[in-house]
């Protein structure tokens, strides 16, 4: 396939190679910066408080320093009223930060919304369980794909899948967004979503190969992508819309979750167009791989 690439094909290949660069960059970032794991995984003490009137960080910091002896970080969560106090876990006794709040003397009053003490032991196990969940999902997806598609077409979806996960992780590492359990759940949802997108295109390519449509493979792939493009854009758009609704309105607890999904859907859409169909082409997908007699139970079997 040495003919000069033009138009859509060219765009597709530029997208494909730049996504490879993005994967490398993401891996590099993860290597260099690591992740900002939340207390779910590392253990620690979180006390969420609400003040009865807006205060600035300085005021609150001073008020809190008078009662909390251990080092802590103060984070504003939502307006100037809600704050989160984070502390590392001290080995001997769990500090009852929530009780200390009552003894604060300031010209505003503090109301404790939630108090969490999480030991590091739990986190280790959650981490293992999370990694296990991701691996199990990937394996399950591989098995499903290999049952439904010929390996060349399947590997396109797989590369797209890894691309999506790695980029989302890269973004979390680069921006040091807090990585908590809900982000893990969002990552799994991204796996499902990414595949969903690639499958729609792969399904169409397979269908077109079977109908013995005229034209080169490259032409067929372009046609398959373009004919599903409206659907791809609408679905990505609606899903992005609902995810934005969560991001905007559901508040701080689901922030990491919605960022992971938002990025995941964006790169998922990109990868389904640029990667999932390009990889099979590079792997020399041929029309003969999808003739009806090879798989007699094809598309028509549902219904």
């Amino acid at each position: 396939m040495k003919t000069p690439k033009t138009g859509f094909t060219l765009a597709r290949y530029i997208g494909f190679y730049s996504s490879l660069v993005f994967i490398l960059l993401s891996l590099l970032t993860m290597q260099l910066k690591g992740f900002n794991f939340a207390v779910d995984f590392t253990g620690g003490v979180i006390t969420e408080i609400q003040t009865d009137q807006p205060v600035n960080e300085q005021q609150l910091q001073t008020a809190l320093t008078s009662v909390i002896k251990e080092p802590f970080t103060l984070i504003n969560v939502g307006s100037d009223l809600q704050w989160s106090i984070r502390q590392g876990i001290s080995s001997e006794k769990m500090p009852e930060t929530s009780l200390l709040m009552e003894s604060i003397s300031a010209d505003f009053s503090i109301n404790v919304l939630s108090a969490s003490v999480i030991g590091p032991q739990v986190g280790d196990e959650l981490f293992e369980a999370g990694a296990l969940a991701i691996i199990a999902s990937l394996v399950a997806m591989l098995i499903y794909l290999s049952l439904r598609f010929e390996w060349r077409l399947a590997s396109g979806s797989v590369v797209a899948l890894f691309h999506d996960i790695i980029i989302v992780l890269g973004v979390f590492s680069l921006l040091q967004i807090e990585f908590d359990l809900t982000v893990l759940a969002a990552l799994l949802a991204v796996i499902g979503y990414s595949l969903n997108d690639s499958i729609v295109i792969a399904d169409r390519i397979r269908e077109m190969l079977r109908t013995k449509m005229k034209g080169s493979l490259n032409g067929i792939i372009n046609k398959a992508i373009l004919s599903t493009l409206t659907r791809t854009l609408i679905t990505s758009g609606t899903t992005l819309g609902t995810v934005s609704a969560i991001w905007l309105l559901a508040g701080q607890p689901l922030e990491g979750f919605s960022i992971a999904l938002f990025v995941g859907i964006l790169v998922g859409t990109f990868s389904s167009v640029c990667i999932s169909a390009t990889v099979p082409e590079l792997l020399n997908l041929k029309r003969e791989h999808y003739q009806i007699e090879e798989k007699p139970e094809g598309v028509e079997s549902y219904n």
Binding site: Q121, A185, G192, V200, D203, E207, T238, A245
Partner: protein, 602 residues
Amino acid sequence: MKQTHKPINRYSKWQYIVIIFTLIILGLNALPNWFGEKAAIHIQSSSTKVATLDSSNLYNLLSEQGIDVEFIEQKNNQSVVLLQNESQQQNARDILDSVLGDNYSVAMAMESASPSWLKKMGAKPVKLGLDLRGGVQFVMEVDTDAAIAEREAKIKEDLSQLLREFKAHGSRIGTLQDGSTVLRYPERVDNQISQVMEELSTLYPELSQVKNSNREIVIGANEQFAQTHHQELMRQNITTMRDRIEALGITEAVVQRQGSNFIRIELPGVQDPSQARRIIGATASLDFHQLQAQGGSLYKSNSGEMVRLNNSPILSGTHITDARSQFGEMGLPEVFITLDSAGGKLMSDFTKDNIGKPMATLYSEYLQNEEGELEKNSKVISVATIQAHLGSRFTISGMESVQATQDLAMLLKSGSLTAPVTIVEERTLGPSLGEQNINNGMAAIMLGLGMMLVFMALWYRKLGLIANVALILNVVCLLGLLSLVPGAVLTLPGIAGFVLTIGMAIDTNVLIFERIKEELKRGKSTALAIHHGYKNALSTIMDANITSLIIALILFSVGYGPIKGFAITLGFGILSSMFTGIYVSRALVNTFITKLPEPKKK
């Protein structure tokens, strides 16, 4: 395409019936969520002898303490007090508990506020997770390693005692690198050693004994036993936790295993973790005592009468190596107990002279009181008559039911085997935070849903309206499913899953409608385009949904608490969106769009 005799774009009557029936069932189950829940206190008299409570007395009692009561309902020997204000629930329970005393059990619960005809049908609102309701959550670590180490130490102790008893002089007990016990002995005590080993295997049948040629025997628990032992320890601890939480008067608590060594406890509605922490973190012990007429100490037994026990126990539960419930010769339930050799000796010495006399089993818990000091809390769980001279293996009979023997066996075992527990995670979520989460979540659902409805109506016009009806039915079905399925809990990530499903549910209809548009462009008639649109999109829809369903299943089996909530809504959301997106929307299309006379097809 081959044409069958079946007319296209027609659903048969039974298909409509199934669709309508499903929609009605799920719709009715979704309905109670509209009415919500009210905080309630359940008061149950512990026996029928105690007079039922007078509603107006209860009302006055609570009103005096400033608690707003909505109404009080009497059913059999249970009173249900509905409160106006959820924040007063804990307070109300404490007041009632202290006033009513031991004859009543007072528990906090949530009661559905739906009209009685709905309640009679058994429809309940969806259960809210801790992050939406507020409450306390603990994660405890069970130190099974410590329990296993303790057991190994005991095996060694028993072994050395047996060696002394059988006069196998010159033997030495050591530990191998992998932790198993090794016994080395000189050749002259060969006979004694085989007797010792025989005795040991009756005490610990699960131990393996491997004889090496050079005068040594390796004794070790096999891997499978270690595994079942670990599982058993976890199960016992979970059972103990459930019993203790029940005693706290919390009916909707969740106690479940988390990973290999953790127990997760969720106590909805509890505001103050200190009381729960004291009771959950307690350790238990078990002793056998002799009954006596005077002196000693008085204890309350499980049948309610007072029993006077000798202060020093015959033997303590630490000597029990195994306890299981079984049926005796007469077919009556009994508990079969195995003691270690030291315990067997104590028991033998005592029972030899006391046949026909009663023996009591005393269960004690060490609880932390307000000042952080340990406090002992004891009760007699059984009184049985000694029938014969007992050794290291005997049975306790005279239990009233199979359940009682099973409970006793469990308690005896946990008394002897209990692994130490420590609280490794504690989260308190105030009710105002839960309310805020619900409001935010609802706002996100409304915005997401609103955007979808507007977009679909603008983009697909007539078909879009059908997709919108299907989408709204999808929301109703999902809510109905969540309320209907026991164990389904709505959490904040669950709400996110809800919103996400709304976005993804659209995909099903988009796939179909885009196909229909393509078919129309190829010049097919509306009816044929719809027929082929639905048909050709189906395999893609299935592929896409099955992959997401697999993810939801994996997430469900691995996740805990809020994450499980996400997996549940995601999974059910996919199922309900397939139902409404494919079948309900098709039925609507068949009825409202293709029913128009189509001269070409009939």
